[in-house]
């Protein structure tokens, strides 16, 4: 710390640099700077795509694990919960190896495309949505089971009832997945390559531009990313809170 900040003049300059970067960042946001918008839109496209694909697989998977008893179910549940902490960098590495020219999926030519980034983020997000939805459906099932059996519900009717009554908590699970995807940098930078106008998303751009010293763009994107991440979490909380007060 001492070295760079010791001289009065140096500190003054740096502070000045910092505040002018903030001003530049804000003006980029306000004027909807073309480069910034392109990056934000690609980020949303990749993460929403990943969450959609992951949800389509994870919600039924969570329901099946919650409702179907089979040998080794406890182990699967533990594994699923553990996979919530999957390090994105490792996922990125594995997907990179699969998609690289010499890899088994190499001929598809997906490496360094948004599709590769969607695949990687889907893998990161899938265990989160599956584990949270399994928990939701298992809790509800424990409570509803006797009533549903007394009614003589078919398995399909039972699942439909549980999914509908768990809808708000399932939505929260999906939003948790989105929050994780949009903020993730390790996987997308490896499989996307951070190529300008092609695979550059908010997190990878922030990493690159900060190291290049282009603080304005990095800060602008940082502000948007924080707002999005906080906004999604706050919305999830508000929804589940309102649902609890409305439906108990």
């Amino acid at each position: 710390m001492q070295g760079g900040w010791s001289r009065k003049r140096g500190r003054f300059l740096r502070m000045n640099e910092f505040s002018s970067a903030i001003v530049a960042a804000l003006s980029m946001i306000v004027t909807l700077d073309e480069g910034l918008v392109e990056i934000v839109l690609l980020s949303l496209q990749v993460s929403l795509g990943a969450v959609t694909i992951a949800s389509v697989i994870a919600l039924p998977l969570g329901a099946v694990i919650a409702l179907q008893s089979f040998p080794g179910r406890r182990g699967v549940v533990i594994l699923l919960n553990a996979l919530m902490g999957l390090p994105p960098v490792v996922v990125g590495l594995v997907v990179y190896l699969l998609l690289s020219r010499a890899g088994p999926l190499g001929p598809m030519g997906l490496l360094f495309t948004p599709a590769a980034m969607i695949i990687a983020q889907s893998i990161i997000v899938l265990p989160i949505i599956a584990a949270l939805s399994r928990q939701t459906i298992a809790d509800l099932h424990e409570e509803y089971d006797e009533h549903l059996r007394s009614l003589g519900c078919t398995p399909m009717q039972s699942v439909a009832t549980l999914l509908w009554d768990g809808r708000f908590r399932l939505l929260t699970a999906i939003m948790a997945g989105f929050g994780r995807a949009i903020a993730e940098v390790g996987a997308v930078i490896i499989v996307g390559g951070n190529i300008q106008h092609a695979t550059r998303v908010m997190t990878t751009t922030i990493a690159l531009e900060t190291s290049k010293g282009n603080l304005a763009l990095a800060l602008g994107l940082g502000l948007i990313l924080v707002t999005l991440a906080l906004g999604v979490n706050a919305t999830a909380l508000v929804i589940s809170d309102a649902a609890r007060r409305r439906y108990g």
Partner: protein, 258 residues
């Protein structure tokens, strides 16, 4: 084995030919045993219920009343022994029965949504549902509360809704497990009136309670259960006037049973 089971008072209570004209009666249990995790909860219970009145299973907490009810409804399977509803097995009979539990399992929907769910599951045609829901809400004294979330209703309203939901399709038999255990006196009255009304409309009631006063108010016949054994089964007037079983007499006198 089943035939050798010692017959309780219950079996002699009514001759088989006095059965009312009810599709699920008589309810006959022979040599019922139920155990779980090495504990025997129901011990050699046999009975014969022919009348379509309000049968109350009375006994202290832990006597096995709830388990008995669930065995009759087929939510639990006996370890040994057999239950028949008229000519039907328990599983077949369940389609014409409904149950409301001590803590009613209300769906996370509106009161109307809870009633609609039953009608949808049972395949009632869409155009009939609305009127049936309105009638059920009216019978339960819940007019105007249809759009309220079921779980935000008061305890008494929740239990009445659960009974209304159970009765919306006019089941032949309504099973009630301690329907007023957690309610204040005013709410208890509301629930008991609803139970009477349902019974008056021709539904057989089989309910459990540990509340002697409630059994006095509601029962047409009483089954006294203690420690998993059916100790007495008699018409209510007879049971309360002169209980034959010593444990039943002590229970009615307000003593604590071991």
């Amino acid at each position: 084995m089943v035939d050798e089971a010692p017959r309780t008072e219950a079996c002699r209570q009514a001759p088989p030919d006095s059965s009312d004209d009810h599709p699920l009666l008589p309810l006959v249990a022979r040599g019922l045993h139920f155990g779980i995790n090495g504990r025997t909860i129901i011990k050699d219970v046999s009975f014969w219920i022919g009348s379509s009145g309000r049968t109350v299973i009375l006994g202290p907490n832990g006597a096995g009343k709830s388990v008995m009810l669930r065995l009759c409804h087929g939510l639990l399977n006996p370890t040994s022994g057999e239950i028949r509803w008229g000519d039907l097995s328990v599983a077949q009979a369940r389609e014409q029965q409904a149950m409301a539990a001590q803590h009613p399992v209300l769906l996370r929907r509106t009161a109307t949504g809870n009633l609609m769910h039953v009608l949808r599951v049972k395949g009632v045609p869409q155009e009939q549902r609305h009127d049936m829901v309105e009638a059920a809400l009216h019978q339960a004294g819940l007019e105007g509360l249809g759009s309220r979330a079921a779980r935000t209703l008061s305890g008494g309203q929740q239990q009445r809704l659960a009974i209304a939901r159970a009765c919306v399709l006019r089941p032949e038999v309504l099973l009630l497990d301690e329907p007023t255990a957690n309610l204040d006196p005013a709410a208890v009255r509301g629930v008991e009136e609803l139970v009477r009304a349902v019974a008056a409309a021709g539904t057989k009631i089989l309910m459990t309670t540990h509340d002697i006063a409630q059994a006095r108010r509601l029962a047409t016949d009483v089954m006294f259960l203690n420690d998993g054994r059916l100790l007495e089964h008699a018409p209510a007037a007879e049971f309360f006037a002169s209980p034959k079983d010593p444990a039943a007499a002590r229970f009615l006198a307000g003593e604590l049973l071991d």
